[in-house]
Amino acid sequence: MKDLAKALPWIGPAVALIAAVVLFPVGLMFWNSTRDISQSGVDDGGVGLANFATVIGFQYFWPILGRTVVWVVVVVGCTLIGSLALAALLNKAFPGRRLVRMAVIVPWASSVVMTTLVVHYGLEPYFGIINSFLVDVGLISTPEGYGWTRHPGTAFAWAMAVAVFVSLPFTTYTILAGLQTVPGETVEAARIDGASGPRTYFSVVLPQLRGAISVAVLINIINVFNSLPILRVMTGSIPGYDADTVMTMIFKYMQNQRQIDLASALSVIAFLVVIVIVAVYVRVVRPLEEV
Protein backbone atom coordinates (compact mmCIF):
# COMPACT_ATOMS: atom_id res chain seq x y z
CA MET A 1 0.00 0.00 0.00
CA LYS A 2 2.85 2.34 0.81
CA ASP A 3 4.30 1.61 -2.63
CA LEU A 4 0.99 2.46 -4.26
CA ALA A 5 0.81 5.76 -2.35
CA LYS A 6 4.29 6.59 -3.59
CA ALA A 7 3.36 5.76 -7.18
CA LEU A 8 0.19 7.83 -7.16
CA PRO A 9 1.69 11.27 -7.87
CA TRP A 10 3.43 9.76 -10.93
CA ILE A 11 0.65 7.72 -12.48
CA GLY A 12 -2.34 9.48 -10.89
CA PRO A 13 -2.82 12.10 -13.62
CA ALA A 14 -2.75 9.43 -16.35
CA VAL A 15 -5.25 7.29 -14.46
CA ALA A 16 -7.48 10.32 -13.90
CA LEU A 17 -7.45 11.23 -17.58
CA ILE A 18 -8.30 7.69 -18.66
CA ALA A 19 -11.00 7.41 -16.01
CA ALA A 20 -12.63 10.73 -16.91
CA VAL A 21 -12.48 10.60 -20.71
CA VAL A 22 -12.52 6.86 -21.48
CA LEU A 23 -14.04 4.85 -18.63
CA PHE A 24 -16.71 7.33 -17.49
CA PRO A 25 -18.18 7.83 -20.98
CA VAL A 26 -18.31 4.04 -21.39
CA GLY A 27 -20.41 3.80 -18.23
CA LEU A 28 -22.57 6.76 -19.26
CA MET A 29 -23.11 5.19 -22.68
CA PHE A 30 -24.32 1.92 -21.13
CA TRP A 31 -26.64 3.88 -18.81
CA ASN A 32 -28.03 6.04 -21.65
CA SER A 33 -28.70 2.97 -23.75
CA THR A 34 -31.37 1.95 -21.22
CA ARG A 35 -33.01 5.41 -21.00
CA ASP A 36 -35.57 7.21 -23.08
CA ILE A 37 -33.88 10.47 -24.08
CA SER A 38 -35.84 13.06 -26.04
CA GLN A 39 -34.40 14.81 -29.09
CA SER A 40 -33.75 17.90 -26.99
CA GLY A 41 -31.75 15.78 -24.55
CA VAL A 42 -34.22 15.36 -21.68
CA ASP A 43 -34.06 12.02 -19.88
CA ASP A 44 -37.61 10.65 -19.76
CA GLY A 45 -36.87 7.59 -17.61
CA GLY A 46 -35.71 4.00 -17.98
CA VAL A 47 -36.93 1.75 -20.76
CA GLY A 48 -34.96 -1.41 -20.06
CA LEU A 49 -33.69 -2.95 -23.26
CA ALA A 50 -36.28 -1.29 -25.50
CA ASN A 51 -33.62 0.79 -27.29
CA PHE A 52 -31.74 -2.37 -28.22
CA ALA A 53 -34.97 -3.90 -29.50
CA THR A 54 -35.58 -0.79 -31.64
CA VAL A 55 -32.03 -0.77 -33.02
CA ILE A 56 -32.02 -4.49 -33.85
CA GLY A 57 -35.62 -4.37 -35.10
CA PHE A 58 -34.77 -1.60 -37.59
CA GLN A 59 -35.41 -3.10 -41.02
CA TYR A 60 -31.89 -2.27 -42.27
CA PHE A 61 -30.06 -3.51 -39.15
CA TRP A 62 -29.07 -6.93 -40.45
CA PRO A 63 -27.97 -5.68 -43.90
CA ILE A 64 -25.89 -3.00 -42.12
CA LEU A 65 -24.31 -5.63 -39.88
CA GLY A 66 -23.58 -7.85 -42.87
CA ARG A 67 -22.06 -4.91 -44.73
CA THR A 68 -19.88 -4.13 -41.72
CA VAL A 69 -18.51 -7.67 -41.83
CA VAL A 70 -17.82 -7.35 -45.57
CA TRP A 71 -16.19 -3.94 -44.94
CA VAL A 72 -13.83 -5.31 -42.28
CA VAL A 73 -13.01 -8.64 -43.97
CA VAL A 74 -12.38 -7.23 -47.44
CA VAL A 75 -10.40 -4.19 -46.28
CA VAL A 76 -8.26 -6.05 -43.75
CA GLY A 77 -7.73 -9.00 -46.12
CA CYS A 78 -6.67 -6.88 -49.08
CA THR A 79 -4.50 -4.72 -46.82
CA LEU A 80 -2.69 -7.77 -45.48
CA ILE A 81 -1.95 -9.21 -48.92
CA GLY A 82 -0.80 -5.83 -50.23
CA SER A 83 1.33 -5.19 -47.16
CA LEU A 84 3.08 -8.56 -47.33
CA ALA A 85 4.13 -7.78 -50.88
CA LEU A 86 5.09 -4.19 -50.06
CA ALA A 87 7.08 -5.16 -46.97
CA ALA A 88 8.94 -7.88 -48.91
CA LEU A 89 9.94 -5.28 -51.49
CA LEU A 90 10.93 -2.62 -48.95
CA ASN A 91 13.04 -5.13 -47.05
CA LYS A 92 15.23 -5.71 -50.10
CA ALA A 93 18.13 -3.48 -51.01
CA PHE A 94 17.71 -1.20 -54.02
CA PRO A 95 18.68 2.38 -54.79
CA GLY A 96 16.00 4.82 -53.67
CA ARG A 97 14.47 2.45 -51.14
CA ARG A 98 14.48 5.13 -48.48
CA LEU A 99 12.49 7.45 -50.75
CA VAL A 100 9.90 4.74 -51.41
CA ARG A 101 9.57 4.07 -47.68
CA MET A 102 8.92 7.74 -47.08
CA ALA A 103 6.28 7.80 -49.81
CA VAL A 104 4.50 4.87 -48.15
CA ILE A 105 4.23 6.92 -44.95
CA VAL A 106 2.38 9.81 -46.62
CA PRO A 107 -1.18 8.36 -46.47
CA TRP A 108 -0.52 7.42 -42.84
CA ALA A 109 0.34 10.97 -41.80
CA SER A 110 -2.31 12.62 -43.94
CA SER A 111 -5.84 13.28 -42.83
CA VAL A 112 -8.04 10.40 -44.00
CA VAL A 113 -10.78 12.91 -44.75
CA MET A 114 -8.52 14.78 -47.15
CA THR A 115 -7.27 11.63 -48.88
CA THR A 116 -10.86 10.49 -49.38
CA LEU A 117 -11.90 13.93 -50.68
CA VAL A 118 -9.41 13.66 -53.56
CA VAL A 119 -10.84 10.31 -54.58
CA HIS A 120 -14.38 11.64 -54.27
CA TYR A 121 -13.49 14.55 -56.54
CA GLY A 122 -11.77 12.21 -58.99
CA LEU A 123 -14.95 10.19 -59.35
CA GLU A 124 -17.29 13.14 -59.99
CA PRO A 125 -19.23 12.74 -63.25
CA TYR A 126 -17.69 14.63 -66.22
CA PHE A 127 -14.99 16.61 -64.45
CA GLY A 128 -13.56 13.92 -62.15
CA ILE A 129 -9.94 13.21 -62.98
CA ILE A 130 -10.15 9.46 -62.26
CA ASN A 131 -13.09 9.09 -64.66
CA SER A 132 -11.19 11.08 -67.24
CA PHE A 133 -8.14 8.85 -66.79
CA LEU A 134 -10.24 5.69 -67.12
CA VAL A 135 -11.65 7.06 -70.38
CA ASP A 136 -8.16 7.94 -71.64
CA VAL A 137 -6.84 4.43 -71.05
CA GLY A 138 -10.01 2.95 -72.55
CA LEU A 139 -11.45 1.26 -69.47
CA ILE A 140 -14.72 3.17 -69.55
CA SER A 141 -16.39 4.86 -72.49
CA THR A 142 -17.95 8.01 -71.05
CA PRO A 143 -16.55 10.68 -68.74
CA GLU A 144 -19.84 10.53 -66.86
CA GLY A 145 -18.20 7.57 -65.20
CA TYR A 146 -20.79 5.38 -63.63
CA GLY A 147 -21.95 8.00 -61.20
CA TRP A 148 -19.68 6.07 -58.83
CA THR A 149 -20.43 8.38 -55.94
CA ARG A 150 -24.18 8.48 -56.59
CA HIS A 151 -24.91 4.78 -56.14
CA PRO A 152 -24.48 3.04 -52.80
CA GLY A 153 -22.84 -0.09 -54.24
CA THR A 154 -20.11 1.61 -56.28
CA ALA A 155 -19.49 4.32 -53.68
CA PHE A 156 -19.06 1.62 -51.02
CA ALA A 157 -16.64 -0.33 -53.22
CA TRP A 158 -14.52 2.79 -53.80
CA ALA A 159 -14.63 3.52 -50.07
CA MET A 160 -13.17 0.06 -49.46
CA ALA A 161 -10.38 0.80 -51.92
CA VAL A 162 -9.57 4.03 -50.07
CA ALA A 163 -9.67 2.18 -46.74
CA VAL A 164 -7.12 -0.34 -48.04
CA PHE A 165 -4.92 2.49 -49.29
CA VAL A 166 -4.82 4.29 -45.94
CA SER A 167 -4.40 1.04 -43.96
CA LEU A 168 -1.41 -0.17 -46.00
CA PRO A 169 1.28 1.99 -44.32
CA PHE A 170 0.75 0.80 -40.74
CA THR A 171 0.42 -2.86 -41.73
CA THR A 172 3.42 -2.67 -44.03
CA TYR A 173 5.60 -1.08 -41.37
CA THR A 174 4.57 -3.63 -38.75
CA ILE A 175 5.35 -6.54 -41.09
CA LEU A 176 8.59 -4.83 -42.07
CA ALA A 177 9.55 -4.69 -38.40
CA GLY A 178 8.77 -8.40 -38.23
CA LEU A 179 10.91 -9.10 -41.31
CA GLN A 180 13.90 -7.46 -39.63
CA THR A 181 13.82 -10.16 -36.98
CA VAL A 182 13.91 -13.04 -39.47
CA PRO A 183 17.49 -14.36 -39.20
CA GLY A 184 19.29 -14.33 -42.54
CA GLU A 185 20.75 -17.75 -41.71
CA THR A 186 17.37 -19.49 -41.99
CA VAL A 187 16.84 -18.00 -45.44
CA GLU A 188 20.32 -18.90 -46.61
CA ALA A 189 19.96 -22.44 -45.31
CA ALA A 190 16.80 -22.85 -47.38
CA ARG A 191 18.60 -21.48 -50.45
CA ILE A 192 21.50 -23.86 -50.01
CA ASP A 193 18.99 -26.70 -49.79
CA GLY A 194 17.86 -25.61 -53.24
CA ALA A 195 14.52 -24.02 -52.34
CA SER A 196 13.24 -21.48 -54.85
CA GLY A 197 12.59 -17.85 -53.91
CA PRO A 198 8.79 -18.19 -53.46
CA ARG A 199 9.21 -21.53 -51.69
CA THR A 200 11.68 -19.97 -49.24
CA TYR A 201 9.29 -17.10 -48.62
CA PHE A 202 6.22 -19.23 -47.98
CA SER A 203 7.80 -22.01 -45.92
CA VAL A 204 10.63 -20.18 -44.11
CA VAL A 205 9.92 -16.45 -43.89
CA LEU A 206 6.12 -16.35 -43.64
CA PRO A 207 5.85 -18.71 -40.64
CA GLN A 208 8.28 -16.49 -38.72
CA LEU A 209 6.09 -13.48 -39.43
CA ARG A 210 3.13 -14.93 -37.58
CA GLY A 211 3.56 -12.62 -34.59
CA ALA A 212 3.85 -9.45 -36.65
CA ILE A 213 0.92 -10.46 -38.84
CA SER A 214 -1.40 -11.17 -35.94
CA VAL A 215 -0.59 -7.81 -34.34
CA ALA A 216 -1.10 -5.97 -37.62
CA VAL A 217 -4.34 -7.76 -38.46
CA LEU A 218 -5.93 -7.35 -35.03
CA ILE A 219 -5.11 -3.64 -34.74
CA ASN A 220 -6.27 -3.20 -38.31
CA ILE A 221 -9.59 -4.93 -37.62
CA ILE A 222 -10.27 -2.45 -34.82
CA ASN A 223 -9.23 0.55 -36.91
CA VAL A 224 -11.31 -0.47 -39.90
CA PHE A 225 -14.33 -1.38 -37.79
CA ASN A 226 -14.15 2.05 -36.09
CA SER A 227 -13.53 3.95 -39.30
CA LEU A 228 -15.96 6.78 -40.00
CA PRO A 229 -14.41 9.45 -42.26
CA ILE A 230 -14.06 7.42 -45.48
CA LEU A 231 -17.67 6.32 -45.64
CA ARG A 232 -18.84 9.66 -44.35
CA VAL A 233 -17.23 11.41 -47.33
CA MET A 234 -17.86 8.77 -50.00
CA THR A 235 -21.39 7.63 -49.18
CA GLY A 236 -22.61 10.20 -46.64
CA SER A 237 -24.68 12.19 -49.15
CA ILE A 238 -26.47 9.12 -50.57
CA PRO A 239 -30.01 8.87 -49.17
CA GLY A 240 -31.13 5.65 -47.47
CA TYR A 241 -29.14 3.02 -45.60
CA ASP A 242 -27.67 0.93 -48.42
CA ALA A 243 -24.05 1.93 -47.85
CA ASP A 244 -23.97 2.14 -44.05
CA THR A 245 -21.89 0.25 -41.53
CA VAL A 246 -22.49 0.07 -37.79
CA MET A 247 -20.25 3.08 -37.28
CA THR A 248 -21.92 5.37 -39.84
CA MET A 249 -25.32 4.27 -38.50
CA ILE A 250 -24.34 5.36 -34.97
CA PHE A 251 -23.55 8.81 -36.32
CA LYS A 252 -26.81 8.91 -38.30
CA TYR A 253 -28.76 8.17 -35.12
CA MET A 254 -26.78 10.86 -33.32
CA GLN A 255 -26.75 13.64 -35.89
CA ASN A 256 -29.53 13.17 -38.45
CA GLN A 257 -32.16 11.79 -36.09
CA ARG A 258 -30.86 13.23 -32.80
CA GLN A 259 -31.70 9.99 -31.00
CA ILE A 260 -28.88 9.72 -28.52
CA ASP A 261 -30.54 6.78 -26.74
CA LEU A 262 -30.60 4.66 -29.89
CA ALA A 263 -27.09 5.82 -30.78
CA SER A 264 -25.93 4.72 -27.33
CA ALA A 265 -27.55 1.30 -27.72
CA LEU A 266 -25.84 0.70 -31.07
CA SER A 267 -22.57 2.08 -29.63
CA VAL A 268 -22.81 -0.42 -26.79
CA ILE A 269 -23.11 -3.23 -29.35
CA ALA A 270 -20.10 -1.85 -31.26
CA PHE A 271 -18.16 -1.43 -28.02
CA LEU A 272 -18.75 -5.08 -27.09
CA VAL A 273 -17.41 -6.12 -30.51
CA VAL A 274 -14.29 -4.01 -29.89
CA ILE A 275 -13.81 -5.54 -26.44
CA VAL A 276 -13.96 -9.06 -27.91
CA ILE A 277 -11.24 -8.11 -30.42
CA VAL A 278 -9.14 -6.55 -27.64
CA ALA A 279 -9.51 -9.75 -25.61
CA VAL A 280 -8.29 -11.80 -28.58
CA TYR A 281 -5.38 -9.35 -28.98
CA VAL A 282 -4.34 -9.63 -25.34
CA ARG A 283 -4.50 -13.44 -25.50
CA VAL A 284 -2.77 -13.90 -28.84
CA VAL A 285 -0.18 -11.13 -28.72
CA ARG A 286 0.49 -11.09 -24.96
CA PRO A 287 1.69 -7.48 -24.92
CA LEU A 288 2.27 -7.48 -21.17
CA GLU A 289 4.60 -10.44 -21.07
CA GLU A 290 7.91 -8.61 -20.91
CA VAL A 291 7.17 -5.31 -19.21
Binding site: A7, A14, L86, G211, M254
Partner: protein
Protein backbone atom coordinates in the same frame (compact mmCIF):
# COMPACT_ATOMS: atom_id res chain seq x y z
CA UNK B 1 12.97 -2.76 -29.76
CA UNK B 2 16.48 -2.83 -31.17
CA UNK B 3 15.33 -4.73 -34.21
CA UNK B 4 12.83 -2.02 -35.01
CA UNK B 5 15.17 0.90 -34.57
CA UNK B 6 17.70 -0.91 -36.74
CA UNK B 7 15.43 -0.93 -39.78
CA UNK B 8 16.86 1.94 -41.76
CA UNK B 9 20.11 0.46 -42.97
CA UNK B 10 21.13 1.80 -46.33
CA UNK B 11 21.76 -0.53 -49.27
CA UNK B 12 25.42 0.44 -49.24
CA UNK B 13 25.96 -1.42 -46.00
CA UNK B 14 24.47 -4.58 -47.47
CA UNK B 15 27.29 -4.78 -50.02
CA UNK B 16 29.99 -4.64 -47.38
CA UNK B 17 31.92 -7.86 -46.77
CA UNK B 18 30.35 -10.10 -44.14
CA UNK B 19 33.41 -9.59 -41.92
CA UNK B 20 31.68 -6.46 -40.61
CA UNK B 21 32.34 -6.97 -36.93
CA UNK B 22 29.42 -5.07 -35.44
CA UNK B 23 26.88 -7.33 -33.82
CA UNK B 24 23.48 -7.04 -35.37
CA UNK B 25 20.81 -9.28 -36.79
CA UNK B 26 21.69 -10.05 -40.36
CA UNK B 27 19.08 -8.75 -42.68
CA UNK B 28 16.96 -10.96 -44.87
CA UNK B 29 18.68 -9.89 -48.07
CA UNK B 30 21.38 -11.60 -50.00
CA UNK B 31 24.56 -9.63 -50.51
CA UNK B 32 25.01 -10.37 -54.20
CA UNK B 33 22.07 -9.09 -56.18
CA UNK B 34 21.93 -9.89 -59.90
CA UNK B 35 21.43 -6.79 -62.03
CA UNK B 36 18.15 -8.13 -63.44
CA UNK B 37 16.42 -8.46 -60.11
CA UNK B 38 17.84 -5.14 -58.97
CA UNK B 39 16.19 -3.46 -61.97
CA UNK B 40 12.98 -5.31 -61.19
CA UNK B 41 13.06 -3.99 -57.62
CA UNK B 42 13.74 -0.49 -58.87
CA UNK B 43 10.77 -0.70 -61.20
CA UNK B 44 8.49 -2.04 -58.46
CA UNK B 45 9.75 0.68 -56.11
CA UNK B 46 8.95 3.33 -58.70
CA UNK B 47 5.39 1.98 -59.13
CA UNK B 48 4.88 2.02 -55.35
CA UNK B 49 6.24 5.56 -55.15
CA UNK B 50 3.86 6.83 -57.82
CA UNK B 51 0.81 5.02 -56.44
CA UNK B 52 1.32 6.33 -52.90
CA UNK B 53 1.98 9.90 -53.97
CA UNK B 54 -0.67 10.10 -56.70
CA UNK B 55 -3.64 11.34 -54.61
CA UNK B 56 -1.44 14.05 -53.12
CA UNK B 57 -0.09 15.09 -56.50
CA UNK B 58 -3.66 15.39 -57.81
CA UNK B 59 -4.38 17.47 -54.71
CA UNK B 60 -1.41 19.73 -55.33
CA UNK B 61 -2.03 20.27 -59.05
CA UNK B 62 -5.72 20.86 -58.33
CA UNK B 63 -4.92 23.46 -55.70
CA UNK B 64 -3.39 25.85 -58.25
CA UNK B 65 -6.07 25.47 -60.93
CA UNK B 66 -8.84 28.01 -61.37
CA UNK B 67 -12.35 27.03 -60.35
CA UNK B 68 -13.34 26.97 -64.02
CA UNK B 69 -10.47 24.64 -64.87
CA UNK B 70 -10.98 22.20 -62.01
CA UNK B 71 -14.68 21.99 -62.88
CA UNK B 72 -14.26 21.81 -66.66
CA UNK B 73 -15.89 18.90 -68.45
CA UNK B 74 -12.64 17.82 -70.10
CA UNK B 75 -10.40 17.84 -67.02
CA UNK B 76 -6.69 18.60 -67.32
CA UNK B 77 -4.04 16.54 -65.53
CA UNK B 78 -1.78 19.54 -65.04
CA UNK B 79 -2.84 23.13 -64.46
CA UNK B 80 -2.75 25.28 -67.60
CA UNK B 81 -2.07 28.35 -65.45
CA UNK B 82 -0.56 28.17 -61.99
CA UNK B 83 -2.75 30.20 -59.66
CA UNK B 84 -0.74 30.46 -56.47
CA UNK B 85 -3.12 33.21 -55.35
CA UNK B 86 -5.60 30.42 -54.48
CA UNK B 87 -3.54 29.92 -51.35
CA UNK B 88 -4.45 33.47 -50.30
CA UNK B 89 -8.07 33.66 -51.45
CA UNK B 90 -9.09 30.25 -50.09
CA UNK B 91 -9.18 31.47 -46.50
CA UNK B 92 -12.18 33.70 -47.18
CA UNK B 93 -14.43 31.17 -48.94
CA UNK B 94 -18.08 31.26 -47.73
CA UNK B 95 -18.53 27.53 -46.98
CA UNK B 96 -16.73 27.56 -43.63
CA UNK B 97 -14.41 29.97 -41.75
CA UNK B 98 -11.21 28.18 -42.81
CA UNK B 99 -8.82 30.54 -41.03
CA UNK B 100 -10.61 29.88 -37.75
CA UNK B 101 -10.65 26.16 -38.52
CA UNK B 102 -6.89 26.23 -38.94
CA UNK B 103 -6.48 28.03 -35.60
CA UNK B 104 -8.78 25.49 -33.90
CA UNK B 105 -6.81 22.60 -35.34
CA UNK B 106 -3.56 24.15 -34.14
CA UNK B 107 -4.74 25.05 -30.64
CA UNK B 108 -6.41 21.69 -30.03
CA UNK B 109 -3.43 19.69 -31.30
CA UNK B 110 -0.82 21.74 -29.42
CA UNK B 111 -2.70 21.68 -26.10
CA UNK B 112 -3.51 17.98 -26.40
CA UNK B 113 0.17 17.26 -27.05
CA UNK B 114 1.31 19.26 -24.03
CA UNK B 115 -1.28 17.56 -21.84
CA UNK B 116 -0.22 14.11 -23.04
CA UNK B 117 3.41 14.91 -22.34
CA UNK B 118 2.68 16.25 -18.86
CA UNK B 119 0.65 13.16 -17.97
CA UNK B 120 2.47 10.38 -19.82
CA UNK B 121 6.07 11.31 -19.02
CA UNK B 122 5.90 10.73 -15.25
CA UNK B 123 3.69 7.65 -15.70
CA UNK B 124 6.00 5.99 -18.22
CA UNK B 125 9.07 6.77 -16.14
CA UNK B 126 7.61 5.38 -12.97
CA UNK B 127 6.18 2.20 -14.50
CA UNK B 128 9.48 1.48 -16.25
CA UNK B 129 11.56 2.05 -13.12
CA UNK B 130 9.54 0.90 -10.14
CA UNK B 131 7.35 -2.05 -9.26
CA UNK B 132 4.19 -1.27 -7.35
CA UNK B 133 0.83 -2.96 -6.80
CA UNK B 134 -1.47 -2.23 -9.74
CA UNK B 135 1.38 -1.61 -12.15
CA UNK B 136 0.35 -4.34 -14.58
CA UNK B 137 -3.27 -3.29 -14.27
CA UNK B 138 -2.29 0.25 -15.20
CA UNK B 139 -0.36 -0.92 -18.26
CA UNK B 140 -3.29 -3.15 -19.22
CA UNK B 141 -5.62 -0.15 -18.96
CA UNK B 142 -3.29 1.78 -21.25
CA UNK B 143 -3.38 -0.95 -23.90
CA UNK B 144 -7.16 -1.18 -23.80
CA UNK B 145 -7.39 2.61 -24.16
CA UNK B 146 -5.29 2.43 -27.28
CA UNK B 147 -7.65 -0.02 -28.90
CA UNK B 148 -10.88 1.70 -27.94
CA UNK B 149 -11.24 4.70 -30.19
CA UNK B 150 -13.26 7.86 -29.65
CA UNK B 151 -15.70 7.01 -32.47
CA UNK B 152 -17.30 4.22 -30.49
CA UNK B 153 -17.64 6.38 -27.35
CA UNK B 154 -18.90 9.59 -28.93
CA UNK B 155 -22.47 9.17 -27.73
CA UNK B 156 -21.23 8.90 -24.12
CA UNK B 157 -18.79 11.77 -24.50
CA UNK B 158 -21.51 13.95 -26.04
CA UNK B 159 -23.81 13.59 -23.02
CA UNK B 160 -20.94 13.90 -20.57
CA UNK B 161 -19.67 17.14 -22.06
CA UNK B 162 -23.17 18.63 -22.12
CA UNK B 163 -23.44 17.88 -18.40
CA UNK B 164 -20.02 19.42 -17.77
CA UNK B 165 -20.90 22.44 -19.88
CA UNK B 166 -17.92 22.03 -22.20
CA UNK B 167 -19.65 20.72 -25.32
CA UNK B 168 -18.51 22.69 -28.37
CA UNK B 169 -15.33 23.97 -26.70
CA UNK B 170 -11.67 23.41 -27.49
CA UNK B 171 -11.26 21.97 -24.00
CA UNK B 172 -13.52 19.03 -24.90
CA UNK B 173 -11.42 18.00 -27.88
CA UNK B 174 -8.14 18.65 -26.06
CA UNK B 175 -9.25 16.17 -23.39
CA UNK B 176 -10.43 13.59 -25.94
CA UNK B 177 -7.28 13.76 -28.06
CA UNK B 178 -5.04 13.65 -25.00
CA UNK B 179 -6.83 10.68 -23.45
CA UNK B 180 -6.89 8.56 -26.58
CA UNK B 181 -3.26 9.21 -27.54
CA UNK B 182 -1.96 8.76 -24.02
CA UNK B 183 -1.32 5.07 -24.57
CA UNK B 184 1.02 5.54 -27.53
CA UNK B 185 3.02 8.11 -25.57
CA UNK B 186 3.20 5.94 -22.44
CA UNK B 187 4.33 2.88 -24.40
CA UNK B 188 6.99 4.51 -26.51
CA UNK B 189 8.51 6.41 -23.57
CA UNK B 190 8.19 3.38 -21.31
CA UNK B 191 10.29 1.35 -23.71
CA UNK B 192 12.98 4.05 -23.77
CA UNK B 193 13.08 4.41 -19.97
CA UNK B 194 13.22 0.63 -19.63
CA UNK B 195 16.26 0.62 -21.92
CA UNK B 196 18.35 2.73 -19.54
CA UNK B 197 20.31 0.56 -17.11
CA UNK B 198 19.14 0.95 -13.54
CA UNK B 199 22.75 1.43 -12.43
CA UNK B 200 22.75 4.86 -14.07
CA UNK B 201 19.95 5.92 -11.74
CA UNK B 202 21.53 4.34 -8.70
CA UNK B 203 24.84 6.05 -9.29
CA UNK B 204 23.09 9.41 -9.44
CA UNK B 205 21.13 8.61 -6.30
CA UNK B 206 24.36 7.77 -4.46
CA UNK B 207 25.54 11.24 -5.38
CA UNK B 208 22.51 12.58 -3.56
CA UNK B 209 20.05 13.21 -6.41
CA UNK B 210 16.32 12.78 -5.64
CA UNK B 211 13.88 10.87 -7.84
CA UNK B 212 12.83 14.03 -9.64
CA UNK B 213 16.41 15.14 -10.28
CA UNK B 214 17.27 11.66 -11.59
CA UNK B 215 14.37 11.90 -14.02
CA UNK B 216 15.09 15.38 -15.34
CA UNK B 217 18.90 15.48 -15.29
CA UNK B 218 19.90 11.87 -16.00
CA UNK B 219 17.02 10.18 -17.84
CA UNK B 220 15.50 12.89 -19.98
CA UNK B 221 18.50 13.39 -22.27
CA UNK B 222 18.60 9.62 -22.87
CA UNK B 223 14.90 9.19 -23.65
CA UNK B 224 14.76 12.27 -25.85
CA UNK B 225 13.99 10.28 -29.05
CA UNK B 226 11.06 8.63 -27.28
CA UNK B 227 9.70 12.00 -26.20
CA UNK B 228 9.99 13.40 -29.71
CA UNK B 229 8.17 10.34 -31.07
CA UNK B 230 5.38 10.67 -28.51
CA UNK B 231 4.99 14.40 -29.14
CA UNK B 232 4.93 14.08 -32.93
CA UNK B 233 2.54 11.15 -32.93
CA UNK B 234 0.08 12.83 -30.56
CA UNK B 235 0.23 16.06 -32.49
CA UNK B 236 -0.40 14.40 -35.85
CA UNK B 237 -3.18 12.16 -34.53
CA UNK B 238 -4.94 15.15 -32.93
CA UNK B 239 -4.42 17.19 -36.07
CA UNK B 240 -6.27 14.58 -38.15
CA UNK B 241 -8.95 13.57 -35.63
CA UNK B 242 -12.39 13.50 -37.19
CA UNK B 243 -15.15 11.40 -35.56
CA UNK B 244 -15.29 12.99 -32.10
CA UNK B 245 -14.77 16.54 -33.43
CA UNK B 246 -17.69 16.01 -35.81
CA UNK B 247 -20.11 15.50 -32.93
CA UNK B 248 -18.54 17.40 -30.03
CA UNK B 249 -17.81 20.65 -31.86
CA UNK B 250 -21.03 22.13 -33.23
CA UNK B 251 -20.06 25.72 -34.07
CA UNK B 252 -18.38 26.05 -37.47
CA UNK B 253 -15.53 28.21 -36.18
CA UNK B 254 -14.58 25.73 -33.45
CA UNK B 255 -14.21 22.78 -35.81
CA UNK B 256 -10.85 21.48 -37.04
CA UNK B 257 -10.00 21.41 -40.75
CA UNK B 258 -10.84 17.70 -41.08
CA UNK B 259 -14.48 18.41 -40.20
CA UNK B 260 -14.66 21.75 -41.99
CA UNK B 261 -13.58 20.33 -45.35
CA UNK B 262 -16.39 17.76 -45.45
CA UNK B 263 -18.82 20.67 -45.79
CA UNK B 264 -17.67 21.24 -49.34
CA UNK B 265 -18.96 17.85 -50.47
CA UNK B 266 -22.44 17.94 -52.00
CA UNK B 267 -22.39 21.71 -52.44
CA UNK B 268 -23.98 22.92 -55.67
CA UNK B 269 -20.57 23.98 -57.00
CA UNK B 270 -17.82 22.61 -54.82
CA UNK B 271 -14.70 24.81 -54.79
CA UNK B 272 -12.39 21.82 -55.14
CA UNK B 273 -9.33 24.01 -55.75
CA UNK B 274 -9.80 25.48 -52.25
CA UNK B 275 -10.43 22.08 -50.68
CA UNK B 276 -7.11 20.91 -52.13
CA UNK B 277 -5.22 24.09 -51.22
CA UNK B 278 -6.25 23.72 -47.59
CA UNK B 279 -5.46 19.99 -47.72
CA UNK B 280 -1.93 20.68 -48.96
CA UNK B 281 -1.39 23.19 -46.15
CA UNK B 282 -2.73 20.67 -43.62
CA UNK B 283 -0.84 17.64 -44.96
CA UNK B 284 2.69 18.84 -45.74
CA UNK B 285 3.73 19.73 -42.16
CA UNK B 286 2.43 16.50 -40.61
CA UNK B 287 4.02 14.34 -43.30
CA UNK B 288 7.38 15.96 -42.53
CA UNK B 289 6.82 15.37 -38.81
CA UNK B 290 5.94 11.72 -39.43
CA UNK B 291 9.08 11.23 -41.49
CA UNK B 292 11.16 12.32 -38.49
CA UNK B 293 9.74 9.54 -36.32
CA UNK B 294 9.39 6.99 -39.15
CA UNK B 295 11.58 4.32 -37.59
CA UNK B 296 9.89 4.41 -34.20
CA UNK B 297 6.23 4.53 -35.23
CA UNK B 298 5.63 0.81 -35.01
CA UNK B 299 7.18 0.49 -31.55
CA UNK B 300 4.56 2.69 -29.89
CA UNK B 301 1.60 1.31 -31.78
CA UNK B 302 2.11 -2.37 -31.22
CA UNK B 303 3.20 -1.92 -27.59
CA UNK B 304 6.49 -3.74 -27.99
CA UNK B 305 4.90 -6.93 -29.24
CA UNK B 306 6.90 -7.15 -32.47
CA UNK B 307 10.33 -7.96 -31.14
Amino acid sequence: MTAITDSGTTPRKATRPPSDSRQRVRKYTSDQVPLGSLLLRLLAGLVVLVVFLLPYLIMFFGSVKTKAEIRSVDPTYFPTEWHWDNYVTMWSTPETPLAQNLISTLVISLCATLLVLAVALPASYYTARFRFPGRLFFLFLVIVTQMVQPAVLTSGLFRQFIALGILDTWAAMILVNAAFNLSFAVWIMHSFFAGIPKEVDEAAQLDGAGTFAVLTKINLPLVWPGIVTAVVFTFVASWNEFAASLVLLTTAGNQPLSVALTKFVGQYETSWHYVFGVSVVAIVPVVILFMIIEKRLVGGLVAGSVK
